[in-house]
Amino acid sequence: MILSVVLLGILTALPNFLSESQRAALPAVMPTDTLNLGLDLQGGVHLLWGAQTEDVVTSRLNNISDQIRDIRRTEKGLNFRNIRIDGDAVKFEVTSDDMIDPAREKLRPLTTSTAGGVNPLVGGGVQEMILTHEGMHFSLTLTEQGIAVQKREAIARAMEVMRKRVDPDGTKEITLQPQGGDRIILEVPGADDPEAIKNLIGKTAQLTFHDVVTNLSQDDISKGRLRSRQKVLPVKGGGSMVISERVIVSGDDLTDAKAAFDQNGRPAVAFSFNTAGSRRFANHTRSNVGRPFAIVLDEQIISAPTIQVPILGGSGQITGAGSVAETQELATLLKAGALPVKLTVLAERTVGPDLGADSIEAGSRAAIIGFVGVIIYMILSYGKFGIAANIALMTNLVLIVGALSFLQATLTLPGIAGIVLTIGMAVDANVLIFERIREEQAAGRKPFQAMEQGYGQAFSTIMDANITTFIAAAVLYLLGTGPVQGFAVTLAIGILTSMFTAVVFARFLLSTWLKRVRPTTLPI
């Protein structure tokens, strides 16, 4: 039993000491997981992003308003006016009494959302909105639950978009992890340019196609005499244009985007729409031949080509986005999709690969020196008993490495410090026991009794002492972040394994020796 635990530890720790090819050659039943090195040891970029989740509520309300307008357009005999956003609600009025009941009927489906249903197996959605009306005054109010679901969804979608943008080929082993309600941690091992990553993610990449408003004079524009649902946007390269806010088709409908060149050899992004997008784009271009449309990226008009012929195939090109490198970036961004929330960097940590290697080297050197020091000291102090404690200590190290590999816990530089500290503190249990045995022997007990008393009496002390340290480690783990958590994990594992090796394993070694040699006094 005792030996099997030790064996298991050796087995799980083993892959760390083998080369890549040796690991690959191991039989399938053998564990092959190695230690998971933290960013501070292998180098890389760690970014903590804050998401402006309030935007999600606004955009959801805008979306609901659009749906209400769609109902007004498609349903005969229903007319709404004064559609507006007020706090967490969309409000409007029906134009006559007899529309109240049919309106309620038509609006009810909007109140539940299948998106982000807490449990997809149960089906049905969550109650996203509450529909109320006072006479002809209607309001659709987002529920707390609805807001929470929207935010959670937005974070999940943002993480997916981030992954596609930073690691389009899925080869970089990046880590994405939500933190709290509105934070995302992104770790890119091996990267050394945080700016490139920040550029890639800092952009929303919201692509939309709009109709260009051409029947306004310059005078109207400069005096801001716009009709509702029209707005002025800057044009890339200078100037501005008025567009209709209604979205013809958006980046959400893209199925593909890649960098290409147009017929004149200028860099361009070639794209294709899905079926729904293709149909809408075809409808618009068919009825607007000869008119310009605006390609808008993040509130800036990239270009506004004139429709020469109806575009029915659902694919096209965007020119005017800039250089080859810029079109390549845009293609990646468009393919990954738009970020549902705006993200800003709250904290950044970059570790160069050479610092990581230096840290590993320094950490291992300190571990070896500390280890050798403790071993010599234990032998000097306790002789044969010290040797048993040292064997236990070595086993302990192997068990820690094995447990860390098995749990796939992340080893950080403070984590190495935790291991070194464990080396110093792990012998404490043995010291407690050995001192007790000395006392018992000095009190005149025979070797067997002295050993048994020593272990028995010291046990409760060891328990109390280790539980209190364990409490500190647990608090550290729960409240700490990143490297500090790494330290807490190794400290906690170290406490558990040292209890086993010092109390159980060393005792096993000593009692085996005692039974064979049967000395008249213990050499301690």
Partner: protein, 322 residues
Amino acid sequence: MLLRLVPENTTIKFLAMRKVALVFSVLLIIASLGLFALEGLNLGIDFKGGITLEVGMEDQPVPLAKIRSTVGDLGLGDVSIKEFGSDREALIRIERQPGNDAAQSVAMTNVRTALTEAIPDIHFRQGNIIGPVVSGELARDGALAVTIAVLAVLIYIWFRFEWQFGLGAVIALVHDVLLTVGFFAITRLEFNLTIIAALLTIVGYSLNDTVVVYDRVRENIRKFRKKPMEEVLDLSLNQTLSRTVMTSLTTLLALFALFFFGGEVIRGFTAAMIWGVFVGTYSSVFIASPMLLFFNVRAESLLLEDEKDDPTVDKSKLTPFD
């Protein structure tokens, strides 16, 4: 002959020194608090927000003067530049930039660009930006972590011993934490997130020591019911002295190895820990134990429970020796 740093059967009168120790500790605590109030701590960017950038050169000393003038020209406010570990590496610290989180990123980009232009051979070993939002939270979480750990421990010891023991242990812990804060105020070592980890480890370690002594005190109270409390405490301290010294030394051995060979990044952490081992060992002997006398622990309260029912005293024979 085996090495014995502490002779057998010592009879040091620890408790007789309790008044001197108490005055000594109170003075140190007052000094620590005063220094903390006047000078504050040398807070790292974890708690203050700001930017650090560690730079290095391949095989020549880092041109500190050139870095200083280059970064100084950018007008980023308070900037400190110093060697880090060796003369091949330097650490640049820049105060938190006015404005939001994005302003910090912009400053970092400017520094990197300017340095690459001025010193083409320079490479960036490590860069950190902590924005204003996160730094406040980290400071709050750190303080919270230490408080929760101390409270959790108070509850555990109360539950395992008696309230006097719990209170005594916690007073010793607060003593250790305050003196460590004082240590950081006087040495001007950077106080950052890893130091919070060190503080919690010191809490764990000091407690470990205190619990070992308390355990022996409880045992001796039960064994020698008629003995005066002062004698019982002295006896317990002397009995555990050899272990106390032994464990402190093995831990210090490991810590000094880390301090001298573990690299610059964790030097602050190990310095705190080394200090903590000394303070923690001292407080277990001279603060935690006299507190029991002070709070008037009586033998009766411990004798009420039947010793034979104590579940943590291992009376089973795991591996019979005979």
